[in-house]
Amino acid sequence: MSSLAEVQIRLRHWITAPEGVETALASEPGGARAVVRGDARLSAEDRLSVYANAYFERLCGCLENDYPTLRWTLGEAWFRDLVTSYLLAHPPTHPSLRWAGQHLATFVAEDSRGEPFRRGRGWVGDLARFEWALADAFDAADTPALERSALAALDPDRFAGLRFAVHPSLRLLALEWPIQKLRRAWRKAGDGERCEPAPEELAVVPEAVHAVIWRADERVFHRSMDRSAFEALQRTARGEPFGTLCERIAEDLGDAAAPARAASWLGEWIDAGWIQARVE
């Protein structure tokens, strides 16, 4: 199959070339015509272009779906440039388009090739992380949630040693930018129907935000949390026993407040469906 493999590798190269099929082919005169048939209606290069355009447009559309606010804040031209750079660094490797955008947040926040897109827009990495977490929560695994009644049935002497697990859809994001403000501006603009944001809509300043994202009744929700509660929930997600959680809360908020605060938070988390039924 060496010849078929060679044909496929060459087609992949031409179709994914960031500069377009024609430029990619310019460096190998006659290259396409040795592989692909052209005719009077359309050259081999033009026929390859159909696939090259479809590749980019399909992935661009997929990433627009996953990152609608990022797309709105950057504007169409910049977003398409971002997608071009991103696909060069992270061509899709998963059989499902669902995962095509999985590296975008890291790319735009940390990769040197993502630098032009974060210059003057420090929030793009946080925004991308946030929107990817929304997509992740949507189809995370289903697990029964803990009921308060089940908690009441547990032996109080065992409480300090209990380890709770959080729902698979739960995502905890410590953000450095007020992403929800950008999301609200995008919503207000009619989910991006008004194409370009006004400068004042993007005039956000750094602000520590502790965001929680989760799915309930098949819908994805998010809200900000108090820092202490967020860190306690993070520890719970890591599997720390409830007793250790109480000790940490005591260090943070004082001995007197800790037990009541821990119990109150646990109750809120259970009511929100954030805690799995399985308790160890």
Binding site: L4, I9, I15, Y55, P95, A140, A141, D142, P168
Partner: protein
């Protein structure tokens, strides 16, 4: 023969669940895009389970990558087995194409050179997939916009050779035949006439668009009259066969989609097969 169906798409979930509950559904089955349901949980899988509890479902994949020279993707096959165990599809289908190579997924249905060694390669991979899934799959002819210097036979000769060698089913996409016939200037009617009727599990119908001198398989229009005519020709040859209308972009209201499926039903009811139906190759 499952009857007449449409694709299960997220925008139509509420309409479909309501019609199932009210017993007013006008289609007989749904086809689902396999990869959309290879997820851990949430609404898509719950809706799929609810639909499957009342109506037959077929799994239609786009990323099995049958024609690639990469190894078959074990993780993908494992996920496909799990999904098939969950929904018990009437059959499983994918495309006669390649979708990625060297670990890169192109997320498109790329044509293959129609050559004898490619027939052997493809048929061997289909057989291995069928062994893993413990059933015959159906392979679909794709719309294509280019052909290869290495071609040694026509597309339909290639399709027939692969299907016979792999002993698999065929998902005959009549719109794709029409689109590729236009793009490569072959005779669509002769193509349909050459397909082995006993291997056809299913027919696809869809709309297409024009782009310069080419037709593109965009699934964003109603089925064109010329494609309905080709469908009737296929019905005369194949006899009653499960038929599905695809509509994936600029998706209309669910009622409109059901109208297209009803038109297919009417066409099938008023088209007589030209010969007695022989015994069919089945999924398992």
């Amino acid at each position: 023969m499952l009857g007449f169906g449409v694709g299960l798409r997220a925008v139509h979930y509420p309409d479909i669940l309501e019609r199932i509950a009210n017993r007013t559904l006008c289609v007989d089955w749904f086809e689902v895009l396999t990869e959309n349901y290879m997820v851990d949980g949430g609404r898509p899988l719950r809706v799929l389970d609810d639909v499957r509890a009342s109506v037959p479902v077929v799994l239609h994949g786009v990323s099995l990558n049958l024609g690639s020279t990469d190894p078959l993707d074990d993780a993908y096959l494992e996920a496909l087995v799990r999904l098939a165990d969950r929904v018990e599809p009437a059959w499983i289908s994918d495309h006669l194409c390649w979708t990625g190579v060297g670990g890169t997924q192109l997320h498109d249905l790329l044509p293959l050179p129609y050559a004898a060694d490619v027939v052997v390669h493809l048929a061997d991979r289909i057989r291995r997939v069928q062994d893993r899934l413990k059933r015959r799959i159906a392979v679909e002819n794709v719309s294509s916009y280019l052909s290869f210097e290495a071609d040694e036979m026509s597309e339909v000769e290639f399709l027939v050779a692969v299907a016979e060698r792999a002993d698999c089913g065929i998902l005959l996409d009549v719109n794709n035949v029409f689109v590729s016939a236009h793009n490569h200037e072959f005779d669509a009617a002769a193509y349909v006439d050459a397909v082995p009727a006993q291997r056809v599990f299913q027919i696809h119908l869809a709309g297409h668009s024009e782009q310069g001198p080419l037709l593109i398989d965009t699934h964003d229009h109603p089925v064109r009259d010329e494609v309905w005519a080709l469908y009737e020709r296929a019905l005369r040859r194949i006899g009653s066969v499960s038929t599905l209308v695809e509509w994936d972009d600029r998706i209309p209201a669910y009622d409109r989609l059901e109208e297209e499926a009803q038109r297919a039903r009417l066409a099938a009811e008023t088209t007589k097969p030209s010969a007695a139906e022989g015994s069919r190759v089945v999924a398992r």
